[in-house]
């Protein structure tokens, strides 16, 4: 069985609260994900996602607030468009857009965190492992 690894960029005001709440209720999730808290989903550079995938991390999740609920004047709205473009890029390069998960929800939807991450783990487990040999081949400069 494939053991995928996930990197999560979680917005401090929504996604991270979900991650905290999952811990508080002692949810049981595989220990193969790491969370990097960010101030806003807009701060996640597409470049950073590519770097993570190039480094062999199987999937990257970006968790932000609902469009309209952003504390930074809909900054996250712009990021949605950016990540959709990035998904296209991942598809065309053969990495696969499904390796990038976008989820936008509010802090009171924290119970979804567990489900979202579990589903993402299952989806990635069905894909072949992403090897770090990707980067020398010029997928990511």
């Amino acid at each position: 069985m494939n053991q995928p690894r996930i990197l999560i960029f979680a917005c401090k005001w929504c996604g991270l609260i979900g991650a905290d709440a999952a811990g508080k209720k002692r949810a049981s999730l595989p220990a193969r994900f790491r969370v990097i808290p960010v101030e806003c989903a807009a701060l996640v550079e597409p470049d950073a996602i590519l770097r993570a995938l190039a480094g062999g991390i199987d999937g990257v999740a970006v968790l932000g607030c609902h469009s309209g609920g952003c504390r930074y004047n809909n900054a996250n709205h712009a990021s949605i468009k950016r990540f959709e473009l990035l998904k296209d890029l991942l598809d065309t390069t053969g990495i696969g857009g499904e390796r990038l998960l976008l989820s936008f929800g509010t802090a009171h939807e924290y119970h979804q965190f567990e489900e979202i991450i579990e589903n993402f783990f299952n989806e990635l487990a069905a894909l072949p492992p992403l090897d770090p040999w990707l980067s020398p081949f010029g997928v990511v400069s």
Partner: protein, 564 residues
Amino acid sequence: MANITVFLCRCFGEIDNAIDFDLLRKELSKDTSVSSVSIVDSLCLEADIEKAASQIKETKADRVLIAACPTLSRGNLPVDGLIKEGIERHKIDLVDIREGCAWIHGNDPEGAVKKAKDLINMGLAALQHKEASKDMRVSVHPDALIIGAGPAGLAAATSLAKTGFKVNILERASAPGGMLRLISQLYPTGEDAADKLNPYIDEVENNHLITFYPQSKISSIEGCIGNFTVQFSSQGEDNSIQSGIIIIATGAKIFFPTGLYRYGEIRNVITQMEIERQFLKGSFDAKKPVFIQCAGARDKERPYCSTICCPASLKNAMRLAGENPGSEVFILHRGIMTPGNVLEKYYRDALSMGIQFICFEEEKPPMIMGNDRVEHVEVYDAVNGITRKIETDLVVLSTPLVPNDDSVRLAQMLGIEVDRYGFFSESYPMHPLETKMDGVFICGSARWPVASDQAILQGRAAAMKAVSYLRQREIAASTLSRVPGPKSGHARVVPDSCTGCGNCVAACPFEACHLEKLEDRHISKVDMMRCKACGNCVSVCPNGSMQIPEHNYRMVGEMIKRAF
């Protein structure tokens, strides 16, 4: 080489069974950037924070990594405590090993300890690359500027003057009062609008702290919180004033329903405002008036409810019924909107007075019948399913409030936003009177149609919000935060590599970026007073010239490398 002190918090042994702390310490001691590793019981207690602070001073560590519970639990306590002890914010990092690791992976101790180690490693990487943003302070001009002298603007002005600040009011008309001057009585109390307005006007005329500029027109607004410069003309004379904050109380205007319900084509079809004007002159003679609600509102073009027209109709219907005994008053509506305890009673009062309510559907609006003056109204009663013919001598259309024509122009001058209809909008949740620009407040019908009592309430509230800035001599950019606590940083441009493409200018949601002309090229500049460190500019920069020092690309890259 960095000299990092690591504190591992056991949470009173709560997470011992999931994380092997001794193993963790042994592994961490191998890292050359780590100078010491201490396992503590409870970093959230004051005594332990003090102990940690003195230990940091003794070992002369230049960075501190705390592995404990997250900020949302009690992780903020050691961080805040150490900041109070004089350690800079960017030299401390907090790693969540309780909720994010021990508790969530309780059934996998091996995975948990591996994850804890990785998380701490990521924290170490972050600490080594984190930098501090520059801060900036501006002095605050202690005068306030209020645009619009309606009930909201007057309430804001008098409140600010009461607290001792000088206030300038710009008004387009030649006298203060706004729309209240056009109205005879107020709902639901029935008091004269003039009685409510006059104390405010007296204060504006007599208070030496308030300067009123009638017939004024704004030509430009520049600057940011603390120092706005406004160029305007008043009574034909050009003028310029400085102010620390701006309160927008420009109100709204009445929608004229030209073409709707044969308004303008046939006599005796008038609007709510015209009936108010008649009431101001004296009494009004109508035996069989019919009020039609939502004329031009809640349709495809203006799908919103203007909130004030239903109570206003109730008020005028009750007044007509009271002044003309034996009259039959109809209100044709699409659902009467009277929220709250007071207005609901108002509606019930109207019912008990014998005013008849007929509900119609949007698809089947009432038909106005008659040649040169209205004779009867045909309406499909949606509740009873019958078409009714109502004889009438007067049709009153309740029209919504719509934004002023120049609201978009004013919004562009100030750099704030309007909603899809043109009303000024607050730009982020939970801060109803503040806009995207710090120091610019909105109140009254400029932000949404409200009655005068609400406008006054909002005006006073906006004034109090403004006082919190005006009373400061200086404002630091880092305090102008959108979130609890100070800002997380400011975006910083690397001038040598910036190509001046302008991506960041287009992407910034706070209009903080602009291009500056150098001798041979353009580069981007960030206005720290406006920057909120959301990071949109960072993500769109094609060559990494835009960075937030607290969250720079080196740091993220290192964190990703060490994530597994």
